[in-house]
Amino acid sequence: MTVHAGIEARRASGRPYIYHVHSLEFDRSGENINRQVYDVERYGLENADHIISVSHYTKDTIVNRYGINPDKVTVVHNAVSRSEGRIRCRIEKRPGEKIVLFLGRITFQKGPDYFIEAAARVLEKIPNVTFVMAGAGDMMPRMIERVAQLRMGRYFHFAGFLKGDEVERIYAMSDLYVMPSVSEPFGISPLEAMLYDVPVIISKQSGVSEILHHALKVNFWDVNELADKMIGALRHPALVMEMTARSREELKNIHWNAAAEKILSVYRRVCG
């Protein structure tokens, strides 16, 4: 929505205008896009001197859905911040209890419905699992209804919107983090979960899956597959051990400084 301001600023200042894309209408709405929003985005993309996208996944959308020349788009993956004062919370859980976390807006884009359907399948096989859905959004009432309908309310917590140390606490408590997004330009939250040595399952329809090798990746719509991988991670300590150890290594190479360097080089190039 700031597209017009950007283009106007270029006109007034005579300086180049760079469009840094973090999300597009197709991510938020699937195929049922709002035409007006799309037109604004397209206008902005077409008129940009250069475009930065947070993933190849998003770049592909920019090229294929908006008809933009791929040479005009540079991919700069996001990273994750390590908060200085992060405490490694030691949380008491019931013995043997496992917690599976969904954290994000409860909207179409984030795929909360797939999380719930997969949870039901997990409970067929493992009884002692608690599913936490943290966040708020327009799909929340429907999700609560669906959980009730599946009669798994006692295994399910809707934690609402969490802030600051509450987020840290819930990451630290979790045994598994799941991001079943339908369309995720990047998706920083799996990186945050990995900071707490939590193994992650992410959808292939995400930008972050391009940079993670030690996450389990599934198609968001494949509920059986998602449930299978969730059970795998909950049942096999060896799997968790290897995934988290390797992820710790991988995280060392994912930091904002590298992203900033790359963005800076785009700015320099565009400003000539």
Binding site: L216, A227, D228, G232, H236
Partner: protein, 391 residues
């Protein structure tokens, strides 16, 4: 008289079907029959059939002077019997020339030596019988899965009356010594040890089509020249590689098959040089020195150790769970169940779980039908859960 010894490994694993936790107790088979058939037939077209034909031509052309050896796994032979008897017939024709030695190995291409001596011996015996039945030879030379080798193995193999054993000529076991000598395994009196010359072998197997390689393109006369340079008497140059190198790992359009056609003639241009099979080398050469290899060595990756199969918690968990079932499996006294358990031992299943991505990732990815080692592990553990339930 220096010798050139060519041994080719012939193996295709029985790849598993996609098996989720929801498939447990549904009475499903574990292997992806269709996929295995497709891959086998594809590799047969690209490699086994054309290359066997070339080998046959070469053997006929040079009389008894071009000699080669194969190690064909039991699971491979079974697949050939089921999916592609034409390939099997072409191997039999090669056997009939009398210029081809067939080696012994574990029937199921397994790591049994490391986990169960009884199982290891039984699998070697099964394979021996299979080779005898198909090719009319009783193997004299042993090679363990993935060229895994140490002193203990050599001692066991000597007691099983083999005359030769093969291993990787890894730098860390040889030190300053040459791979082009016959050695005596530490603790053995008769058995001869032949070591792979990995530089020359990998010039063909890995580097042949690499345009960044300074020696590209590799021609048969250039390669023969390198071999001729090591012309001291009593030397043996051991070229050990996957048979699929010809036409599959290196596609036909790289010129690999033309290279093969020209190779024996170029080597034999030098009157001192001849081709011999491993058992002939063991017969004709005295060991230059004893060689002590206490820790297992293999031909895989840069490490030449076991970490491609049992180097991480996933692999260790899976393989211990598998071999932990041995007693229960045997107690059933059910040949079908024993066979299924043995098929689960094929080393490839553990190779797919390898997480050593960064240094050796390319080769691992090429051979891995799974999206990631984690998927491979979960799939395998689901199958193991189903199998455990069945026994």
């Amino acid at each position: 008289m220096p010798s050139v010894c060519c041994y080719f490994q012939v193996h295709q694993p029985l790849r598993h079907r996609h098996f989720t936790v929801f498939d447990i107790k549904q009475g499903l088979s574990y292997e992806d029959e269709e996929k295995n058939r497709q891959i086998l037939n594809k590799v047969a077209e690209k490699c086994y059939l054309p290359t066997n034909l070339i080998m046959l031509d070469l053997i006929r052309k040079y009389g008894g002077n071009f000699r080669i050896s194969f190690s064909i796994t039991g699971v491979m032979l079974e697949q050939l019997e089921r999916f592609n008897p034409e390939v099997l017939d072409s191997f039999k024709r090669l056997a009939d020339t009398g210029c081809v030695e067939f080696l012994s190995e574990t029937y199921y291409h397994s790591l049994a030596f490391l986990y169960s001596m009884r199982e290891f011996r039984e699998q070697v015996e099964l394979h021996r019988k299979k080779i005898k039945a198909l090719f009319g030879q009783t193997p004299q030379t042993f090679r363990n899965t993935e060229l895994i080798y140490n002193n203990d193995l050599a001692r066991v193999i000597e007691k099983m009356h083999y005359t030769a054993i093969l291993a990787e000529g890894a730098d860390h076991i040889l030190g300053w010594r040459s791979p082009n000598r016959v050695y005596q395994p530490a603790g053995c009196a008769k058995l001869k040890l032949l070591l792979r010359n990995y530089r020359l072998s990998d010039d063909i197997a890995f580097r042949f089509s690499n345009r960044q390689w300074p020696e590209y393109p590799l021609t048969a006369d250039k390669f023969a020249h390198w071999i001729h340079q090591t012309d001291a008497a009593g030397q043996t140059i051991n070229l050990f590689m996957d048979y699929e190198t010809f036409g599959e790992h290196q596609w036909a359009d790289t010129g690999i098959l033309e290279f093969l056609r020209a190779f024996p003639g170029e080597v034999l241009k030098h009157p001192e040089f001849r081709f011999q099979t491993p058992m002939e080398i063991a017969r004709d050469h005295n060991p230059a020195a004893p060689l002590d290899v206490p820790n297992p060595v293999s031909w895989a990756d840069v490490e030449r150790d076991l970490t491609a199969w049992i180097g991480n918690p996933l692999q260790n968990d899976a393989i211990h769970a598998l071999y932990g079932m041995e007693r229960k499996v045997r107690k059933t006294k059910n040949a079908g169940i024993l066979d299924i358990w043995r098929r689960l031992q094929t080393s490839d299943h553990f190779y797919y779980m390898c997480t050593k991505w960064f240094a050796d990732g390319d080769v691992h990815k090429y051979f891995n039908p799974y999206e990631s080692p984690y998927h491979a592990y979960i799939n395998y553990m689901n199958i193991l859960a189903d199998f455990s339930d069945a026994i």
